[in-house]
């Protein structure tokens, strides 16, 4: 206990201050609407809708029973209550032992109520398990692989270019882009521990279990941006193993695919660049543990925010990008990461070929901007406790100066 608690006491004051702040700044008392980013009540796809409908059936049936049984219980407790001392010491009531007819009637009633629940349950079990036969031909297939603590998404039907002669299936990480309006079959795999893929607004979760070929299917009704999260405890950073789903209309989806299938974007330094002043390397501000990496601005229209990430940044510094690209090799990033067409064939970490076009980093945890990228590079272990990148820094004795960090950030950002 003595080795466990010291940090706790130090942090206690922060928590109390924060609690007071939360109370003062007011709370959102509309929480009963349950319409958040990971709502299972306000849903956007047929699978989640089928699951919600079953939930409503169970909800209404049990609420109905609760009201009746509760009313009888309340009535009995009040009506037969001894109200005075004399009542309590009165002759005991008749010592009845029960009534078989009442019992049988109630058992019959309960069975009937359960049948009302069972029928839609069975229908939905079959519907939610696999894509309906008539839609199978139109289905799109993706393989999702869980790792401690991020997701790899593989598009087996799309051949991405590595170089002029070699192609391999498209691989992305932590941001699942799917075609809207089409059923998507997601194969679920894992090579370490058990994870679970959950996008509440589109479909209930199915686990990724080693040595087991699970899958789920879902369909997004319309283009949209969705929040997802690992739903099975998978070790230290389970809570921050998240991801995002982007559903796009047919044309936009194809455009996205075309971009992703290309090898990494290379920035050619323009002559003018050499005359620019070198950037200033301000020290990174310090971040509180678990400090939020998301902003309200992003949430106003998340799909638009995602679209904005697809175009190159306006103030790119080609020289800095080139410096970052060389650091990506010299600082051993390539051991674990791949930037198709540039360097690296590592598969321990997410594929970074088009990392600049993703809206989040660190598995859906931080918004993909300069500050958060640098925060991640600066100390990945503080953002995601126990992760392999932090361990990799220690094992390979990697140290990054502020200048290195900024250059790497510029490089990663350029990978649109």
């Amino acid at each position: 206990m003595f080795t466990f608690f010291p940090t706790l006491f130090r942090r206690g004051r922060v928590a109390i201050a924060l609690a007071g702040l939360a109370l003062l700044t007011g709370c959102d008392f509309n929480f009963w609407r349950m319409d958040g980013h990971q709502s299972t009540i306000v849903v956007d796809g047929p699978v989640a809708r089928a699951q919600l409908e079953v939930f409503y059936v169970t909800c209404w049936v049990t609420l109905f029973i609760f009201i009746i049984v509760g009313a009888v219980l309340a009535y009995a407790s009040l009506k037969f209550r001894a109200r005075s001392d004399a009542d309590e010491h009165a002759e005991p009531p008749p010592q009845g032992h029960g009534n078989p007819l009442v019992e049988l009637g109630l058992i019959g009633g309960s069975v009937l109520a359960l049948v009302i629940i069972a029928v839609p349950t069975l229908k939905a079990i079959w519907f939610t398990y696999d894509i309906p036969a008539e839609e199978k031909a139109n289905a799109y297939e993706i393989t999702a692989v869980g790792y401690q603590w991020w997701f790899r998404f593989e598009y087996p039907g799309e051949q991405a270019t590595i170089d002029a002669t070699t192609k391999m299936p498209l691989v992305t990480g932590n941001e699942l882009v799917i075609p809207a309006g089409r059923p998507v079959r997601i194969n679920l795999r894992t090579f370490d521990v058990i994870h679970s893929l959950w996008i509440p607004k589109l479909a209930g979760k199915v686990d990724m279990i080693p040595n087991r070929a699970n899958f789920l299917w879902l369909k997004a009704d319309k283009p949209g941006y969705y929040w997802g999260q690992c739903a099975e405890y998978c070790g230290d950073s389970h809570a921050v193993m998240r991801f995002r789903v982007v559903a796009l209309g047919p044309r936009e989806f194809n455009a996205w695919l075309d971009q992703q299938l290309q090898p990494a974007r290379t920035l050619v330094p323009r002559p003018a660049d050499t005359s620019r002043p070198r950037p200033q390397f301000a020290a990174l501000r310090s971040f509180r543990q678990n400090e939020s990496g998301v902003t309200e601005k992003f949430d106003v229209d998340p799909l638009e925010s995602w679209r904005a990430k697809q175009a190159p940044e306006k103030d790119e510094n080609a020289e800095l990008v080139a410096q970052g690209r060389s650091l990506f090799t010299t600082k051993a990033c390539i051991t674990c990461h791949t930037v198709r067409g540039h360097a690296g064939a590592g598969v321990t970490g997410p594929d970074l070929t088009h990392v600049g076009s993703r809206s989040t980093i660190g598995a859906g945890l931080l918004e993909n901007n300069r500050e958060q990228l640098q925060r991640w590079l600066h100390d990945p272990g503080a953002v995601k406790p126990g992760n392999k990148m932090a361990k990799g820094y220690v094992d390979s004795k990697i140290t990054l100066t502020a200048e290195d960090e900024v250059a790497l950030v510029a490089y990663l950002e350029s990978l649109k």
Partner: protein, 657 residues
């Protein structure tokens, strides 16, 4: 069976002189009195005492968890600390608080309710207690050891493979979890066999099975569940231990192991475990409601049958914990329907409890408040359970806060309310003092309000997509307010529990002395003086009806006559037979503790200190075998008590063999 038959057994005793080592300890008070006791009431008290200590530990763990989740992106705890806390909160509350607290009631109340003078195997009973304590120590020992290499268990109370393998958690924390649960399993199985044999064999004459109080029935069903369910987790834990230390591949994927096999083994144990936690509370409620309604339990045979039915069905629904593991349509449908089916016997119990109230003279005392609170809260927990049985809906709810809300309604609103009701109800019998009604009712209302404020918002959280076992969450997901409310509620609940136990402790020392049979009870335990004398019944009662003591109170004269005859008969057979106290169960458990600590802290590859730990493990084994050897050697004898008119033993020394 006849009361006299038991004393006939004593005539076989041989009276050889004993070597000094085997002299029977005789201290009734002081430390040695407690350490060597075989009295089911003292053992029950100790079970309750330790359970309540661990209940407080688990409660503090829960408050830390809630403090961390009070606001988004909080930094009160690290991820590692949080994961350790939720693992230990679950493990502690299930195995070290609710189960032993139930065992405390089984021990204290069950023999009194069947008119027995002790359990069938008094020394085995002591062994169960001390082994439970050994398991509890091992589970918690990691808190006091270096966190980087040892630490308290942090793989979840469910310990899903392959996260528990050495590859993912190389620390010894999982070894302590494995070994701790193994010892608790040994303790639980030994205790349960004891209870089963006691209930089958030691019932007073006339106490047929269908005259057993419902609490005794639930003890019997729970004991069978423990005996049948624990072997599954024992096997599974052995396999984890082998995988971790001896290179086997039960769950190791690299060698072709099947992680999903762990889930099946765990839940074949884990689901009956849920009923192991709730059935004792249901039994307590089925005693309290009739007493305070002043009429018999409505539909006794159906309540008993539905309890047994729940026990059987409990073994056929385990995979509803695994609806998201991709079992396929038919298996999912089968387990969904079986789960719905189990709602019927559960619902039947609720109907019968209401039927018991109907037409009664309800006396609103604190135990009755907790019992009614139980019925209300258990209903809510039961209904959200039905929601989970609908597998497609469960795909959204599983591993979300909706599930957290559900099982806390069942385990706090259910099990814990039942056990708190039981403590209040039997307190006058156990300690001869009554608890203040004002403070009792106040604690009830604070607990009731705090509990609902904590756990009701969690339904909303779960439906709004908040997963369990997460040490942090972002501020933009709509989870802030319910989490803040839940945390405030948890501290109210904490205050309520504190009031409850402060009042209990105060009453223990300073409470008003209680007369005999304070609640106008219906079952046999109320027929004896309080606190009960060590021999329980001056004369083994003869049972004529289901509510035996109620019958006795209303047929006073004939029962008195009968008792006098039996007393005379028993006196001619040598008086009241009592078992000797013994130190050997404790020695055996201490040996097991030493060995188990050494084994679970042992590295499989030679490291510095290996000889010390190997030696320690062997020492533990030797101590255990010595304990068992002397236990066997000292024999199962006892001595006789003769009582004066006031029930005090006379000629104590002469009576001893």
């Amino acid at each position: 069976m006849d009361a006299l038959a038991k004393s006939a057994y004593l005539t076989k005793e041989e009276h050889l002189p004993k070597p000094r080592l085997l002299a029977h300890p005789a201290a009734k008070t002081g430390l040695m009195g407690w350490l060597t006791t075989v009295d089911h009431k003292k053992i029950g008290f100790l079970y309750g005492f330790f359970a309540l200590i661990f209940f407080l530990v688990g409660g503090v763990e829960a408050l830390l968890i809630r403090a961390q989740l009070m606001v988004p992106n909080n930094d009160l705890l690290t991820a590692q600390q949080y994961n350790t806390l939720f693992t230990m909160h679950g493990t502690t509350m299930i195995f070290l608080a609710v189960m032993p607290l139930s065992a405390a009631f089984f021990n204290f109340v069950m023999p009194l309710q069947i008119g027995a003078r002790d359990v069938a195997f008094p020394r085995l009973n002591a062994f169960s207690l001390w082994t439970f304590l050994a398991g509890a120590i091992i589970l918690n020992i990691g808190w006091f050891l270096p966190q980087a290499t040892h630490g308290a268990p942090d793989g979840g109370w469910f310990g899903y493979a392959p996260l528990t393998s050495k590859q993912f958690i190389p620390k010894h924390s999982i070894d302590y979890w494995v070994m701790g649960l193994q010892l608790l399993g040994v303790a639980s199985i030994a205790a349960s066999l004891n209870f089963i044999v006691t209930i089958i064999n030691l019932r007073a004459p006339g106490m047929s099975m269908m005259r057993l109080p419902v609490f005794v029935w639930m003890t019997l069903v729970t004991s069978f569940l423990i005996v049948l369910a624990f072997p599954f987790i024992t096997i599974a834990l052995v396999e984890v231990m082998m995988d971790r230390n001896f290179g086997t591949f039960f769950f190791e994927v690299s060698g072709g192991g099947m992680p999903v096999l762990w889930q099946h083994l765990f839940w074949v144990f884990g689901h009956p475990e849920v009923y192991i936690l709730i059935l004792p509370a249901m039994g307590i409620i089925s005693e309290i409601l009739p007493t305070f309604s002043r009429k018999p339990l409505f539909g006794y045979p159906i309540v008993v049958f539905s309890g047994a039915c729940i026990g059987f069905l409990g073994f056929a629904v385990w995979s509803h914990h695994m609806f998201t593991t991709g079992m396929g349509t038919v298996a999912t449908a089968a387990f969904a329907l079986a789960t719905m089916a189990i709602a019927v016997p559960t619902g039947v119990k609720i109907f019968n409890w209401i039927g018991t109230l109907w037409g009664g003279h309800i006396v609103m005392r604190t135990p009755m408040m907790f019992a009614l609170g139980f019925v209300w809260m258990f209903m809510i927990g039961g209904f959200s359970g039905i929601m989970h049985s609908a597998a497609p809906a469960d795909a959204q709810q599983q591993d979300s806060y909706f599930v957290v809300a559900h099982f806390h309604y069942v385990l706090i609103g259910g099990s814990l309310f039942g056990l708190l009701a039981g403590i209040h109800y039997w307190f006058p019998l156990m300690f001869g003092r009554t608890v203040s009604e004002f403070w009792g009712k106040l604690s009830f209302w604070v607990v009731f309000v705090g509990f609902n404020v904590t756990f009701f918002p969690m339904h909303f959280l779960g439906l709004n997509g908040m997963p369990r076992r997460t040490f942090t969450y972002d501020q933009n997901l709509g989870w802030n307010t319910p989490n803040l409310i839940a945390t405030i509620g948890s501290f109210i609940l904490g205050v309520g529990i504190a009031i409850y136990f402060v009042v209990m402790v105060y009453t223990y020392f300073k409470g008003r002395l209680a007369g005999r049979d304070v609640w106008d009870g219906r079952t046999l335990e109320w027929s004896i003086p309080n606190p009960p004398p060590e021999y329980n019944f001056r004369v083994i009662p003869t049972i004529h009806a289901r509510d035996a003591w109620w019958y006795e109170k209303h047929h006073g004269e004939e029962v008195e006559k009968e008792k006098a005859e039996h007393a005379k008969a028993e006196a001619t057979h040598g008086g009241i037979h009592m078992p000797f106290q013994s130190i050997w169960p404790l020695v055996t458990s201490v040996g097991i503790l030493i060995g188990a600590v050494a084994v679970s802290a042992l590295d499989s590859n030679p490291a510095p200190g290996i000889h010390l730990r190997l030696g320690l493990a062997l020492t533990g084994g030797v101590v255990m075998f010595l304990g068992i050897y002397f236990w066997a050697l000292e024999g199962n004898e006892g001595y006789h008590l003769h009582l004066d008119e006031n029930g005090h033993p006379i000629n104590d020394d002469d009576a001893k063999h």
